[in-house]
């Protein structure tokens, strides 16, 4: 699964640590999602989308469809 987390975070000038704090996850988790090493659960994906004020589809894209 691809995602735009790094771009969205950079647009807002947030650090990985700030984003991790807001999502209540570790910085390691934010980094793993950004680098595509780890796909978040649905609840975390919703939380991420809500934080950026976007839909899940605007943040995450299926590898097969994209």
């Amino acid at each position: 699964m691809k995602n735009r987390l790094k771009v969205l975070r950079a647009e807002r000038d947030w650090t990985q640590a700030q984003l991790a704090d807001a999502l209540e996850v570790s910085r390691q988790t934010v980094n793993a999602i950004e680098t595509g090493k780890f796909d978040p659960s649905l609840s975390l994906a919703f939380k991420i989308a809500r934080l950026f004020g976007l839909t899940i589809e605007a943040v995450f894209q299926d590898d097969v469809l994209s």
Binding site: E11, R12, D13, W14, T15, Q18, L19, D21, A22, E24, V25, S26, Q28, T29, N31, A32, K37, F38, P40, S41, L44, L51
Partner: protein, 140 residues
């Protein structure tokens, strides 16, 4: 741009508290286990009542440790839980396979000594630690 709306440290503080609580329960369990194991020989000369009480105390501390561990796991984030799950699965699988083979070694007279549960516990701890290490490395 402003940082995301958050109360910094809440989650990390909770994790820290959970880890400390888990550490205390682990210590309590180890101490009560030592008491139940060595008390009969060195303190109460194999009397029944203190032995039973020490065992019950050890079981109670063990239950406390289990609940503290459960609480700790439930407060971890998705990735941390995945790393824990993979490490636990590795140590459990190795324990079952190696434990039964180890037991067989004595049954078929390939070793002359009685297999010790402590050897299995050391193996479980070692494989769990390796699992955590490799899991953390993989998702760095």
């Amino acid at each position: 741009m402003n940082p995301p709306n958050t109360t910094p440290g809440n989650w990390t503080d909770r994790l820290k508290k959970n880890t400390i609580r888990l550490g205390y329960w682990t210590l309590a369990w180890v101490i009560t286990l030592a008491l139940a194991a060595f008390g009969p020989k060195f303190i109460w000369d194999y009397a029944t009542l203190p032995g039973v009480l020490a065992l019950l105390l050890n079981l109670a501390a063990g239950m406390g440790w289990i609940f503290a561990n459960k609480k700790n796991l439930s407060d971890l984030d998705d990735l941390q839980r995945k790393i824990q799950l993979e490490a636990t699965a590795l140590s459990l699988s190795v324990a079952v396979v190696a434990g039964l083979s180890y037991e067989l070694l004595e049954d078929i007279h390939l070793i002359s000594f009685q297999p010790q549960i402590s050897h299995l516990v050391i193996l479980i701890a070692a494989t769990y630690a390796i699992g955590l290490f490799t899991g953390n490395r993989r998702y760095q």
